[in-house]
Amino acid sequence: MTKKYDTPLLDELEKGPFPSFVTEIKKAAAKNPMAADELGQLEKSMRDKVTYWKHGGIVGVRGYGGGVIGRYSQLADEFPGVAHFHTVRVNQPAGLFYTSETIRFICDLWDKYGSGLTNFHGSTGDMVLLGTVTDNLEPLATILSLNGFDLGGSGSAMRTPSCCVGPARCEWSMIDTLDITYDLTQEFQDELHRPQFPYKFKIKTVGCPVDCNASIARADLSIIGTWKGPIEIDQDRVRDYAKKGVNIQEEIVNFCPGKCITWDGNNLAINNSDCLHCMHCITKLAGALKPTPPFGAVILIGAKAPFVIGATLSWVIVPFMELKPPYQELKDMIRNMWDWWNEYGKNRERIGELIIRRGMREFLEVCGLEPTPEMVKEPRNDPFWFWKEEDLEKKPWEEFLK
C-alpha cells in the first residue's frame, strides 16, 4: 500500500473536460510510493504557493555527462518517496512514432525502476521519465541500451535533435526531416552525451516554413525546408475550393505577403519571382497548390529563450542548402561553428550570444559563408562599421560601376 494524502486542492483539478494530470499522478500513486509522495508534496505546493524542489545536484551514468537531471525534495522528511526524484531523458525516435510494444517496454521498465510517471515528451523532444533514485540509473541505462535505446542530452552539450512529422505524413516536407535528425543524432553522439560546449546547443529540423516544431524559436540551429521552383497550380482544385465557399480573393490573395497572387474568378496566377515562400496559399488550398524543386533548406542560427540577453529568433545564415545524405556540407559547417564557439564562448554563452559579441562577419567567415542580403531584415543604419586591412585594398566599384 502506498501512502494516501488528503488532496482537496488537487482534487479540484480532476474536474473538467481536459485530461487531468492529477488523475495521472493518482494512478501511479496507487502502486508507487514515489508517485504517492509526489502527490503529497504537490498538494503542499498548491497550498503554500511555492515549489519544494531543491536545486538539482549532479547525477549520471558512467561514461556520460548528461541525460539525467538530478532532483531532490526540500521536504525529504515529510515526503521520503521524493527525497531523490531524478529525471531521465531518453532519446525519442525521430518524428515521435511509436509502437505499442515499445511503449509497453518503457512502461514495464519505468514501473520497475522509477515512479511510473512520464512526460511524452519534454520540451527538447526526449521521452522524459520522471522520478527515480540514483541507484537505479545504471541498470536503467543498461536495459535501455540492450533494447536499442539511448539517453538524450542535457547540460552544456548538443541537445537531442528533433523534428516535425516530415515526409512520414506530410505532403509539404521539402527535406527528409526524420532522416536528417536521425543522421545528425548518430553523427554527434559524443557531443550529445558528453557536455563539452560553453552551453547547450539545440538542433531542430522542419520540413517547410510552417515550422511545426518551432525550430526558428527554440533551436540554436534551425533547419527549415524550402523550395526554389514555381508553385504548381491545379486550377480545377482551386475552383473546387472556390465553389466550396473559400473566398479566394479575401482568404488567399489578400493575405499573400509578396502580393504576387491574382485570381480572376476562374484562374489563379502566381508571380513566383515575388513569392516569399510563406506557405499560406499552399496550406489553405491543400492539394491544389504545391511547391516544386529544387528543394532544400534555409539554415538559421541563434534562437534562445530570454536569458541572458533577451530572447532571440534564429537568423538566416544560408538562404538555401541542398540536403542530401550524408549531409556533409551541413555537418562540416556545424563542426566549424562548434570549434569557434568552443574557442571563444564563455561559460553559459549560447552561440547566438557569441555571434552578437564577436560579430556576424567572424561567424560567417568561420563557416565559410559569403554575406547575402537574405541574412538581414535590412542593412545597418548607423554609419560606423569595421574594415579589415584586406578590404581597404579592394576597389569593388571598378567592377560594379562599369
Partner: protein, 371 residues
C-alpha cells in the same frame, strides 16, 4: 546502429557491463506503419474530416487516418498502456505524439476509424485539436518537478484547457490559437512565440544567504547570470551584493546559485504575453508581447488568469479576420486598440526599459484614437 530487438526484454538481473553507449535512438523506420513506410515522402494532400480526424492521401492513392486526442503530457504508465491497447485494437499498434504533446492514433483501415472514435469517446478521451482551433498547451514542469518554478504549470494548463475545451473539440477560431506556459522566466518552451502564453514571475529581490554563498556558488558565474549587472562582489562577506535599483527579479542568479532564493508565495505570480508565432505563414515569426504584467498565484485554478485570458480570447474571436493569428490581428488593429477592446490596463511595466527598450518606442504619429 538504430535497431530494436525483435522482442523487448527486461532482465531480472542487470549486468551493467553489458551496457552499450553512443548507439543513439532506434531508427524511426522501426515505428512507421506500413502505409507510411510505403508512401514516405509521397503524400499528395490531406483533409480535415472533423476536429479530431484527418486523412492523408498519398500519390499512390493510399490513405492513412489520424485521430488526435488531448494529453496532459504527464502520463502514468497505466495510461500509456491503455493507449497501447487501443493502438493495438485499431492501429496495428501504431501511434505517435505531436510536438504539442497530443496523442495521434494512426489508422490504416478506414473501417476502424469510427469504432476507434467511439471507444475513445467512451473512455472520455478528449478528441480534437486539428485545424483552426485551440491545440494542446506546451508547458514546463512547474511545482511538479522544478526548483525554480514561480507558478505551477500543469494546473494552469488544466484550468485554461478546461475553460477553452469546446474550442479544442468543436468550435473554430480564426486561426490556430497556441497557448504556452512557462513556470519561470527561464522559459523552457516557446512561450516567447505563442499566441497567448503565461510566464511565472517574481517581484521581490533574491534573499542572499551570505553564509552559504561561498560554499555553493561561483562568483563570476553568478555575476554573469544577471542580465542587468545588478550583482557585484561583497568581498567582506565573501558573497555578493544586489543593487535593488537594477534588479528585475528574473531569478537567473538563483538558477546558477542556490544561495539566492527568490520564490515568494505572496508576490510571485503570472504574466500574460500575447501575439507570438513561430511559423512563416503570411507574416514572419513574431515574439509574444506583454499583455498583463501580473496576476496573483491563486491555486488550484488561477481564476484571475483564466478570466483575463477569456477577455483576450473573446476579443480575438470577435475581431480577427479568418486566418489571422492573434499577433496578426493585433498588428492590424494596433496595440492601442488591443488594450481598448480587451479592457486590459496599460501600465509602466508594458514599456520596455531593458537593453533594447528604445527600439520599441513609437517613432511615428500613426495611431488610432481609442478615447
Amino acid at each position: 546502429m538504430g535497431e530494436i530487438p525483435e522482442k523487448f526484454f527486461i532482465p531480472d538481473v542487470v549486468d551493467v557491463k553489458q551496457r552499450k553507449t553512443d548507439i543513439g535512438p532506434p531508427h524511426y523506420s522501426n515505428f512507421l506503419p506500413p502505409v507510411i513506410k510505403k508512401n514516405y515522402g509521397n503524400w499528395k494532400t490531406h483533409e480535415i474530416l472533423s476536429p479530431g480526424l484527418m486523412v492523408h492521401i498519398a500519390n499512390s492513392g493510399d490513405k492513412i487516418w489520424t485521430v488526435r486526442v488531448a494529453s496532459p503530457r504527464l502520463l502514468s504508465t497505466d495510461t500509456l498502456r491503455e493507449i497501447a491497447d487501443i493502438a493495438d485494437k485499431y492501429c496495428d499498434g501504431y501511434f505517435r505524439f505531436t510536438t504539442r504533446n497530443n496523442i495521434e492514433f494512426l489508422v490504416s483501415d478506414e473501417s476502424k476509424v469510427q469504432p476507434l472514435i467511439d471507444e475513445l469517446n467512451a473512455k472520455k478521451f478528449m478528441i480534437g485539436g486539428i485545424g483552426s482551433r485551440v491545440s494542446n498547451i506546451v508547458h514546463t514542469q512547474g511545482w511538479i518537478h522544478c526548483h525554480s518554478a514561480a507558478v505551477d504549470a500543469s494546473a494552469l494548463v488544466k484550468a485554461i484547457m478546461d475553460e477553452f475545451a469546446d474550442y479544442f473539440t468543436t468550435k473554430e477560431t480564426p486561426n490556430k490559437v497556441r497557448f504556452a506556459v512557462a513556470c519561470c522566466t527561464n522559459m523552457c518552451g516557446a512561450v516567447h512565440c505563442s499566441d497567448i502564453a503565461y510566464v511565472g514571475i517574481h517581484r521581490k529581490l533574491p534573499r542572499i544567504d551570505h553564509d552559504n554563498f561561498k560554499n555553493v556558488c561561483e562568483l563570476p558565474t553568478t555575476m554573469a547570470a544577471c542580465p542587468t549587472a545588478a550583482i557585484t562582489p561583497d568581498p567582506a562577506k565573501k558573497s555578493i551584493k544586489i543593487n535593488p535599483e537594477k534588479c528585475m527579479y528574473c531569478g537567473n542568479c538563483f538558477s546558477v546559485c542556490p544561495a539566492l532564493p527568490i520564490a515568494d508565495p505572496e508576490n510571485d505570480g503570472v504574466a500574460i504575453v500575447v501575439g507570438g508565432k513561430v511559423g512563416n505563414l503570411r507574416k514572419p515569426p513574431m515574439f509574444s508581447k506583454l499583455a498583463v504584467a501580473y496576476l496573483p498565484n491563486n491555486p488550484p485554478r488561477w481564476p484571475e488568469v483564466v478570466k483575463a485570458t477569456r477577455k483576450i480570447f473573446d476579443a480575438y474571436i470577435a475581431g480577427a479576420k479568418k486566418h489571422e493569428r492573434v499577433g496578426e490581428w493585433i498588428e492590424r488593429i494596433g496595440w492601442e486598440k488591443f488594450f481598448a477592446v480587451t479592457g486590459l490596463p496599460f501600465t509602466f511595466q508594458h514599456i520596455d526599459d531593458w537593453t533594447y527598450a528604445f527600439k520599441t518606442f513609437r517613432t511615428t504619429t500613426q495611431f488610432k484614437w481609442t478615447k
